[in-house]
Every structure is written in C-alpha cells, then in structure tokens.
C-alpha cells in the first residue's frame, strides 16, 4: 500500500543540522524503527515524513510520488505522539472521530467507524468519558485509535510506549505489532529503546548526530554493527571495547598487563587487509565474555578483578577492572548460578568468533572472525 523513499533529506535548525543527507527506503508493509540517542534527528525525520516539517534539501516519495508539497492531512499518515496529544477538552468519542470530522464525513459514518475502532482496541466503554479523566493506559489507546481511524497507509509512532510501565509496555508492544500486521500498514517507529526496536522492527535505522549509521535487520545490527557507535548502542549491557594495536598475529591491548589476544593463522591475511593502520579496537559483548578461575584451555592470559555484580535472576552481570587499569570496566554476563566473589582476580575468556574488530582510525567495523 505504501512504499516510502527518503532521498538525501537535510534539515537544519539555525546552524544546527538535525538530519544530514538521510536516505532510506521503506518497503510496503514494513515495520522499521528509527533508533538513536536523544537529539540524533529521529523525531525530525519522522516530522518530515508526516509533513509537519519541510526538509531543507532532498525529497520524500510515497509510492513513487513526491509528497513534499502535500500537507500532512492529505499524506495519508497516522501519527501517534509520545505524549499522546489527546484533546482533553473533548470526550473520547470526539477525540477518536476528530480526523473524520475534519474530513467532513457523515455523522453516521463517523459513529460506525469510531465504534469499530473502539471495539478493536477495547475502549468502547470509555467513549462517553471526558478525555481529561483517562488513565495513562487508556489515553494511549485513545491516541492509537485516533491515529488509526482515518485508515492511514503509513503509521508513524513517536516513542508511543515510553510513558507506560514496563509490564504494559511489553503487552502493548505485541499489540502494536499485531495491529500493524492486520491493517497491512507501513510503520515507522521512533524509539531510543533498543529492546523495542529489536523486538518490533523488520529493519532498524540507527542514527547518531543527524547521520544514519546503519540500516539493517535487528540480527545484523547486533551481529554486524557498521561502526563503534552502533556496536556500543545496541546490546545490554554494552559491549566491551579494548584498545590496542595489531602486531605479529595478535592484538596487544593496553588495558591488560599481558594483553595479548592471538589471532588464528587463517585470519592473519584478512586482518591485515581490513585495517588501514595498526591501531584497533577489539569489541567483545558481555554475553560472550566469561569469567574463569583458571586459564585451562584458553589461549588468553587476561586477568581482571571483580568489583561488583548484579544478580538479575536469569543471569548475573559481573563488573571487573582489568589488572592493569582501574579506570576501565569489563562486563561479563554469567549464568544465574554463578556466585562471584568481590575482589577476586579471575581470568576472562572469549572465543575468537565472538570478537568484533574495529579500525581505531575510521571507527568502522573491520572484521568478524566467522
């Protein structure tokens, strides 16, 4: 129904560039997430798609047609705001029917459609209530209903779940996905929460400082992050980075006293080819980094002192200082049965296939050993 193309969009606010040369293609019925820290330009991008903001450069196409000159109300988009933007001076029924009323539909038709949407979202009992009396959960549903009622082909969601409590967020996540699939809409979802992005989206566009960093499936964003920023932003707890240099078939990482991470012979050529210079950043995700009492069967001789830990039930997150450097934190995710002892010095171990190699100069991913 709707295939969206953003063609090198630029938006500036004064001297600040909010979005810089953003190009994205969103397939019909695809659910994509715009993910990034605050101020990275994701909401600006969303506002340009909806038409609330006009890009300074570039073009936006819906189904091959440029929509730059089309006002927001005629673009066929539904917008759900982070703060819901429910009109408190109207009752729930008038809130949901607002868009239809603006479009001057017959009163009967409005009533039929409002009832239909209200049934779908299970808020029929609220219809006559004043919107100012709603709980935050109901307000969220009313906002959803209002953006759905015009049957938009494109659904824009700006952090719609961030005001909900954790339990409800999970329920609503599933519900949103279901509704989007049933309605067959193209959806763009803005969030700074990677869990939401990973669980909902077919593809994730990771943004930082106005620039698109990576646009790929959740699997690839996690497993093949294009650069240090994406690797650091995706994954919880965050990835461990060790800076060092590549010399003679091993990475010498400076945070550890004897910080040699050997590279298997078969990868030597790949590593050399992928790097522009010798300085590297070695990334290892905490879930791949294990704490061990001895170094049996390991090719690594990296020692770290346990400084704190978080027993999270299903897993235990362990925080350590590498022996040579108390300013650096090494994180490891261990099983639920693991009982760390504070102050204990242990070996850390990880497999070569789990290493992310970044070029220190360009900050781009140089190599995965698999």
């Amino acid at each position: 129904m709707a295939h969206i193309v953003l063609d090198s969009l630029v938006k500036r606010f004064g001297k600040q560039t909010a979005v810089d040369k953003l190009s994205l293609e969103i397939k019909d019925r695809e659910f994509i997430a715009l993910l990034g820290p605050s101020g990275c330009g994701k909401t600006t991008t969303m506002n340009m798609i909806s038409g609330l903001l006009k890009p300074d450069e570039g073009d936006i196409y819906f189904d091959g047609q440029s929509v730059i000159g089309t006002p927001p109300g005629k673009r066929g988009v539904g917008f759900m705001f982070q703060n819901y933007a429910v009109f408190t001076f109207l009752n729930v029924y008038d809130n949901i029917g607002f868009g239809l009323k603006i479009r001057k539909l017959e009163e009967d038709e409005i009533r039929r459609r409002v009832n239909e949407v209200a049934r779908l979202l299970q808020i029929r009992h609220l219809l006559s209530m004043s919107a100012s009396a709603l709980s935050i959960n109901d307000m969220q549903r009313v906002a959803l209903a209002r953006s759905m009622i015009t049957e938009p082909k494109i659904f824009l969601l700006d952090e719609p779940l961030s005001n909900l409590d954790a339990a409800l967020r999970a329920t609503m996540r599933a519900e949103l996905k279901k509704i989007q699939q049933e309605a067959g809409q193209t959806a763009v979802y803005v969030t700074h929460d990677q869990v939401e992005a990973m669980s909902l989206a077919d593809r994730i566009a990771v943004m930082n400082f106005a620039v698109l960093q990576q646009y790929d499936t959740p699997y690839n964003v996690y497993n093949r992050p294009t650069n240090l920023f994406v690797a650091n932003f995706i994954g919880s707890p965050t990835i461990n980075f060790f800076e060092g240099v590549y010399k003679k078939g091993a990475f010498a990482v400076s945070d550890f006293k004897d910080g040699a991470i050997p590279v298997s012979r078969k990868f030597h050529k790949d590593v050399e080819e992928s790097l522009t210079q010798e300085r590297v950043v070695v990334g290892v995700r905490p879930e791949h980094l294990k704490v061990r009492g001895d170094k049996k069967g390991s090719s690594l001789n990296l020692k770290a002192k346990i400084v704190s830990y978080e027993p999270l039930g299903s897993k235990t997150v362990v925080y350590m200082h590498p022996d040579g450097n108390p300013d650096v934190i090494v994180k490891s995710v261990m099983g639920s049965g693991y009982k760390p002892k504070l102050g204990e010095i242990n070996f850390i171990d990880f497999e070569e296939k789990n290493v992310y190699l970044f070029d220190k100069q360009t900050e781009d991913l140089a190599l995965r050993f698999s």
């Binding site: 909806s50 988009v77 705001f81 703060n83 933007a85 009109f87 408190t88 001076f89 603006i102 953006s147």
Partner: protein, 284 residues
C-alpha cells in the same frame, strides 16, 4: 509537629490585622455610600464608623439630572455607559491582537525582537507619552471620542495580553496542534479547533485582567476626554462642590457601582480562572 499555642495565636492575629488592613477601604466605601450627608461630610469633625441613618440618597444624587451640590457633574449614567463601551472595546482590541500575536510568538518564534519591544512599552508609565498623544489626538480630532480612548486602551494593555497569552500558549504542548494538523486541519484550523479551546482559561483570565486595567484607568481618560466621553473614574473626581468640597457620599456610591462589572465578569469566568485545564493532556 504541633504548633505552640502562642505561635498559632500570633499567626491568627497577623492574618486578622492584614485582612482588616485590606478590607477596610472596601468597607469604608460601602458604608460611606449609605451614609446621609451629615455623616459623610468632614465638616462636623466626627467620624461615623457605620451609617447611623442608612439612606440611598447618594445613589439618587449621582443619577439625578443635576447634582444639587455640584454644578459641574451631570448624571452618572453617561459615564457608566462610556466606561463600559471603551473598556470592553479596548479589551477586545488588546485580546484579539494579543492572542494572535502571542500564538505567533509562542509557536513560530515570529516577530524577532517584537515581543521584547512590546515589553518595553511597560518600562515607562503611560502618562509619560500622554502629552504627545494628546497633541496628536487633538490634530486628528480624536479628543473626547470613544475611538480615541479605545485605541490607547488597546495599545497600553497589549503587552500584558501578549505576554500573558504567550505563557498560556507555551504551556500547551505543540504536539496537540501537530496532531490536529496530521488529522487534516490547516494551521489556522488547528489554532481555532484545538489551541483556542485549550487556552480558554488563559484567554478568560487575561481578558479579565486587561478589562480591570482599562476599567480603572483614570489618567488617560482624564487627559483624552472632556465632556461626552468621560469615564467613571473621571466622573468620580468631578464630584465636588465649592461649598462642601469633595462629595464623599456620592463618590462612594459611584465607586460601589463601578466595582460591579469586574465582579460580574469575574464570577462569569470563574470556572476558567482555574489554571491547569491543559495539564493532563500530556503526561510529562
């Protein structure tokens, strides 16, 4: 923690003192309005704390065609009508211009330095510019006309209406306008259908404030009006005679009448005066 008895006593005492201080003038006007001549005049050298012989003679006097004691002041009907006319129209001008200007400033950062220039209008008292204005008005033949007064009232109170309304608009999340626009409203449609209903409380309280300013103005009306368009405050000042001096009784009676419109207006919009109508639209 329970307060000590003497602390509470002191608090109540202070509250009572302050209350008396503030209410005494109101009481004095009220009681004065119902006193007969011998009680309100200063001639006898005696103070009457309340009307010993209540009468409505003072009210009769100000509405009579010719005030017996004062040859210069006519009936008070015309000044009352004048005051209502110029205050309402002046408030209307300040509100219409103010609401639109404030919305532009709040949402679109329109006008550059204009908001601050408007604020500068309040840095000197209006009287400072009144002489030049009087000369201009004299040239334009706008002295002693309703529009001459109304224009000045609208302009003098404009900074208040712009800045008060701006803070109210700032409090309305812009997502609400945006939601309406995405739903198919034009910019102006969103303004009238969403922003104005949400700002109703602000508009009402700003209008009341501006109205009171215009209603109670004395200096501007004194200088820019003469006979036909004198307002209540000017008329009150005219209530005196060579024989008795200031006619405190009739003055008090007219002052009491003058207090009525703001009170009615206030009661009418009372439910909008409660701020916080927009809060709750948005979970912050």
């Amino acid at each position: 923690m329970e307060q000590k008895l003497y602390v509470r006593a002191l608090k109540f005492f202070l509250i009572i003192v302050v209350t008396i201080l503030f209410f005494f003038p109101i009481y004095w006007v009220f009681s004065m309005a119902f006193k007969p001549f011998p009680e309100w005049t200063a001639a006898g050298g005696q103070i009457f704390w309340y009307p010993h012989h209540p009468t409505i003679d003072n009210f009769r006097a100000i509405f009579s065609r010719k005030l017996e004691m004062s040859p210069i002041a006519g009936t008070a009907i015309r000044p009352i009508v004048n005051s209502l006319t110029v205050s309402i129209i002046g408030t209307g001008i300040a509100m219409v211009v103010g609401v639109f200007a404030a919305y532009g400033i709040s949402r679109h950062k329109a006008g550059g330095n204009l908001p601050f220039m408007l604020l500068q209008l309040r840095m000197f008292p209006p009287i400072a510019i009144l002489i030049p204005i009087m000369i201009m008005w004299a040239f334009l033949r706008m002295i002693d006309t309703w529009y001459g007064l109304v224009i000045i009232y609208g302009v003098v109170t404009l900074p208040f209406s712009v800045w008060l309304m701006k803070t109210f608009f700032d409090d309305i999340p812009k997502e609400l306008d945006e939601a309406a626009i995405v739903d198919g409203c034009s910019n102006i449609g969103a303004f009238f259908k969403v922003v104005i209903p949400l700002a109703k409380g602000g508009i009402a309280s700003t209008a009341l404030f501006v109205f009171i300013l215009n209603w109670s103005d004395f200096l501007i009306a004194l200088i820019l009006t003469d006979r036909r368009w004198t307002t209540i405050p000017v008329h009150i000042s005219k209530l005196q005679s060579a024989m008795v001096g200031a006619l405190y009784g009739p003055k008090a009676a007219l002052a009491m009448i003058a207090a009525v419109p703001p009170i009615i207006f206030g009661i009418m919009i009372q439910k909008y005066l409660v701020r916080g109508l927009t809060f709750g639209a948005i979970k912050k």
